[in-house]
């Protein structure tokens, strides 16, 4: 087997892994704070891509277009929380998850009405379609996808680890009643979590569109990939979700690149299943809380 083939698969896997990690992080933020499995996360990604494509088509420069898309999608996240999740906040986890599915279908339908069924794309951010590296070829957008994920992770680490607002969000995740008793409103923090997840989704959507294209129906498959990353890595720790995403991406790319065609999905999913069975609570241990 040639070095360039392995390298090609590794680089593709890294890129895919970063996409899945970004998706999983959006799910992690919402689940961590509100315990809601937001099955509309992929729609935020799809909307981020679609809005950026449209604004670019209207002549808005790329980065202002992304910022506007992030603002609009964040508002969508706020609407989902304020008008659907918050009124039903006392319902069971599965009911809340189903509500997000309903929202996802509504967004999908509206997107079909507004944008039609065509796939749309953006040009690579720096214009170069591909990069050649030691015999392997990667898409010119791939480094942007990796960079976006690294920035996202660094931003989340700073926000959750260094700012009081981030700590307050974590407090709601750890112990919602404890947070309430010191004046932190879980409802406000829940809204913020949905807005952050939507913003992360929009950034991811704009960044991956030159690579994967976007259309009204890409949201749910993206959500499923994000869920896989989050479940395999473990929803209780961001590091686990990132590892889960990378593992999923690398497994997919390596099995597609190195195994006979037709088997790669089965092989990738089998490997993930083995990992999941071996570590059902995620790749990394949960934070300790010793009972009295």
């Amino acid at each position: 087997m040639e070095f360039s083939t392995v390298l090609q698969s590794l680089l593709s896997g890294l890129t895919l892994g970063c996409i899945y990690a970004a998706l999983g992080l959006g799910l992690y933020v919402v689940y961590g704070v509100t315990r809601v499995l937001n099955l509309a996360q992929g729609e935020f990604v799809m909307l981020g891509g679609m809005i950026t494509v449209s604004l670019s088509a209207f002549g808005v420069p790329l980065f202002p277009a992304i910022l506007l898309a992030v603002a609009i999608v964040s508002l969508t996240g706020a609407i989902l929380y304020r008008f659907i999740i918050f009124p039903a906040r006392h319902a069971s986890g599965s009911t809340l998850a189903f509500l997000t599915v309903g929202f996802a279908f509504a967004v999908k339908g509206l997107t079909l009405l507004v944008w039609g069924w065509e796939y749309r794309t953006l040009t690579s951010f720096l214009g170069s379609p591909s990069i050649h590296l030691w015999g392997a070829t990667i898409f010119g957008q791939a480094p942007w996808v990796v960079g976006m994920t690294i920035l996202m992770v660094a931003g989340l680490y700073y926000f959750f680890g260094r700012t009081m607002l981030g700590r307050a969000l974590r407090a709601c995740a750890d112990e919602p009643l404890g947070a309430k008793t010191i004046g932190i409103s879980p409802a406000r923090m829940g809204l913020l979590a949905f807005v952050i997840a939507a913003a992360l989704g929009a950034v991811a959507g704009a960044t991956i569109t030159p690579l994967t294209m976007t259309a009204y129906n890409v949201g749910i498959p993206l959500t499923i990939k994000g869920l896989l990353a989050a479940f395999v890595g473990g929803m209780h720790r961001a590091e686990g979700v990132i590892l889960g995403g990378l593992l999923l991406g690398l497994t997919e790319a390596l099995s597609a690149g190195l195994m006979p065609s037709g088997y790669h999905d089965a092989i990738a999913l089998s490997i993930l299943l083995v990992v999941f069975l071996a570590r059902p609570r995620g790749l990394l241990p949960a934070h300790a809380n010793i009972e009295d």
């Binding site: 009081m164 307050a168 112990e175 009643l177 947070a179 004046g183 934070h287 809380n289 009295d292």
Partner: protein, 243 residues
């Protein structure tokens, strides 16, 4: 609604409350003065914790009024009451397990940090460390790895960081060794020096007899006796209370 007795930090007037079909409080009336330590004592299921929970907004009242500094507070959510100075410490010690001891304490001052300023928050942090030196030693340690006694100190310290005007402590001695009970009760007594009014729920009258100014004996959702800790102790002996 206003019109309560301004000398009282808290007044409960004929308060009724239920946990679904189970009646928890049946016409509880009491008054707590500024800077005092009041104890709610009595047997398990007597309504002590339910009374605290109605004050902090966790248990809705079905009848009656709760007045905080003369203002009616029935129905206000827990977090808004906490911002107004009513801070509840649950018997389950609801610490933020994934965060450090220091982060837990700083979060106590979350709602007032801008208003109070960093210097005041730092000063309060030093007060907590004086009350509970073990927390200073363990400030970088993950809160989830603390022992039961240390967690109790952390929850009281975190509540102090919120600058409460009324501190509601639900069974702070629960599952603690006698030496730790003494230390925790000593710290609660010291909080009075900072102008904090405290209501303390305990099953064990003896545990609070040295620090409480007065108390209420509760049974079957009613206040059946009130008086000094010694008077309550004799009442509890008469009603077969474990002591």
């Amino acid at each position: 609604m206003t019109g309560g007795n301004r000398d009282l930090v808290l007044e409960m007037r004929d308060v009724h409350a239920s946990y679904g079909p189970f009646i928890a409080l049946q016409g509880v009336s009491l008054g707590i003065e500024y800077s005092e330590i009041a104890a709610l004592v009595g047997p398990h299921g007597g309504g002590k914790s339910a009374a605290l929970k109605t004050v902090c907004g966790l248990l809705p009242t079905t009848r009656g009024d709760i007045l905080f500094e003369g203002e009616r507070i029935n129905g206000l959510p827990v977090e808004r009451l906490a911002s107004r100075g009513i801070v509840y410490v649950d018997e389950r010690r609801l610490i933020f397990a994934s965060m450090s001891v220091m982060d837990n304490l700083l979060l106590g001052a979350y709602t007032r940090r801008r208003r109070a300023g960093n210097a005041v928050v730092r000063e309060d942090l030093q007060t907590v460390f004086k009350l509970f030196p073990i927390l200073a030693e363990r400030q970088k340690q993950s809160a989830g790895t603390l022992s039961g006694g240390e967690k109790q100190m952390l929850t009281i310290g975190r509540a102090f960081m919120s600058s409460p005007r009324l501190l509601l402590l639900d069974c702070p001695s629960l599952r603690l060794a006698p030496i730790l009970v003494k230390r925790v009760m000593g710290a609660i007594a010291e909080l009075r020096e900072h102008g904090i009014t405290t209501i303390l729920v305990e099953q064990n009258v003896k545990a609070v007899s040295h620090i409480a100014d007065h108390g209420y004996f509760m049974e079957k959702g009613r206040v059946v006796a009130r008086g000094s800790p010694d008077e309550l102790l004799s009442h509890s002996n008469g009603s077969r209370l474990v002591s």
